[in-house]
Every structure is written in structure tokens, then in C-alpha cells.
Amino acid sequence: MADVKLAFIVSKPPYKSEVPKLGATHAMAYQTVEILLEEGDTVTPVLCYVGDGVLNCLKGQKAMDIYGITSTETHLKNCLLVDLDVYVCKEDLENFGIQEDQIVDAEDMGAEKKLQVVPFETIKKTVEEAKHVLYF
């Protein structure tokens, strides 16, 4: 019986690569992993946006209307709905002048969970406490 902590670090902006989106979808998969694990084993990912990666968190993304594909915003909302911890680096948001009311929330879907704006120090600690790091 063991919990394995994972740090998912997304450092690239959305859409120019599929990779940032897959950071969110792979982290979300923690919800169903128990079917493949021994009784009592768990995986706990924390999804962290740093550097240009924080641009993934802007709300109002119209990818579905325009290109017919699920937006990164929708993936982030789904992360909140499955109660994943999602950290967004405070210093990097500030660098871009992005306010907290400009970032994704899932209130319209009834989620209580929010993106958590945290200092890089918290993300560093998350990496230190994780058994493995997945850098997207």
C-alpha cells in the first residue's frame, strides 16, 4: 500500500504543441488508475504551470468554436472537477501581468476547486516531495 506523488510541470504555452494539453489529460488519469493497481495503492499528481506554461491558464479560449477541438481551458476545468491540485506560478503570472480574474475557473460547472496561484517555492517543494517528475 503506497501513494506515489508525481509532479507534472507544464512549461510551454498551449496549442503550438500537443504536449501542454497532455500534461492535463495525463494528470487527470490518476482518477481511474486504481483499476490497474493493487488494493490501497494510489497515485497523486500535482499539475504545475510555470514560465510560458502559465499562458495555458488564460480563460475564454475558443478553440472548439474555431478549430473544433477541445480547448486547454476545458481540460483545466475537468482537472478541477476531478479534484486535482493545480498550481500556477505567481511570479510567472506577474511577469505577464495576468490577474487572477483572468485565469480559468470551473464555477460554471459547479467545481469548488480553483487553480491555486502559488509562489515558485511551493512548486519547488512539490518537485522535491514527488517521487517522479514529468516535465511537459
Binding site: A2, V4, L6, S17, E18, V19, L22, G23, T25, H26, M28, A29, Y30, T32, V33, I35, L36, L37, D41, V43, P45, H132, V133, L134, Y135, F136
Partner: protein, 119 residues
């Protein structure tokens, strides 16, 4: 001896990340380690069988079949492959099909994880 799980997101041809991952997997298996290999993103196009081995291009099918024979577990992200036109009927035999939780489950039991997220 340990367990190494490699997550590979890069296409078969292009960045040579694919060649790297296959060579690293083989080197680890040859030293007696257990290796798992997960394909997502553009790597999920690579289980397509019938790849013609032309010397100007990286080739995946032959080394992949060899790794599977040596006991490497290889699994592709089903949705990622289907979106690219690769499915169980046209794929290399022995490659497993699952969802992203396969990768997380293998990571749970691994000593080392190398997540190659570059394109």
C-alpha cells in the same frame, strides 16, 4: 535490477527522440532491468505496421518488435492512436492498447521514470 518507465511523445521520424528512447530501452534491458514504454502524442502514430525501412528515415517497426520480444512492455494511448488513423487492426502485434492510466500505473511501480515530452 530496477524498473524504468519511458514515456515517449515524439514522432517516429524527425527529432530522433524516438531512436533515443528505443536505444535506451534496449541498453537497459540488456543490463537486466525491466522497461516499460508508453506512447502518447505523435509517438502514438508509430505503432502502424508495414513501415518501409528506407535508409533516409528513422525506422521503428523492427527495433520495436525486438524490444517486445525481449520483454519490454509497450503500450500506446488508444485515443491518441485512433485520432491518427492507427487502430488495433493495422498496428504492430504485441503493442498494448490502453488509456493514460496505464502510464501512471507503470510509473507507480517504477524506480525511474524518463518522460520524453518533447516534440
Amino acid at each position: 535490477m530496477g524498473t524504468l518507465t519511458i514515456g515517449l511523445f515524439s514522432a517516429l521520424v524527425g527529432s530522433m527522440n524516438y531512436d533515443f528512447a528505443l536505444k535506451l530501452a534496449e541498453a537497459a534491458v540488456d543490463k537486466g532491468h525491466k522497461v516499460n514504454l508508453w506512447f502518447s502524442s505523435n509517438a502514438a502514430g508509430s505503432p502502424l505496421k508495414g513501415q518501409k525501412h528506407l535508409k533516409d528515415y528513422s525506422h521503428g517497426e523492427t527495433p520495436l518488435r525486438k524490444l517486445i520480444e525481449k520483454g519490454v512492455e509497450v503500450c500506446t494511448c488508444e485515443a491518441c492512436s485512433l485520432a491518427r488513423g492507427v487502430n488495433k487492426t493495422n498496428a504492430i502485434e504485441g503493442v498494448q492498447w490502453s488509456a493514460m492510466h496505464w502510464y501512471l500505473a507503470k510509473i507507480h511501480g517504477s524506480d525511474r521514470v524518463l518522460h520524453i515530452g518533447g516534440e
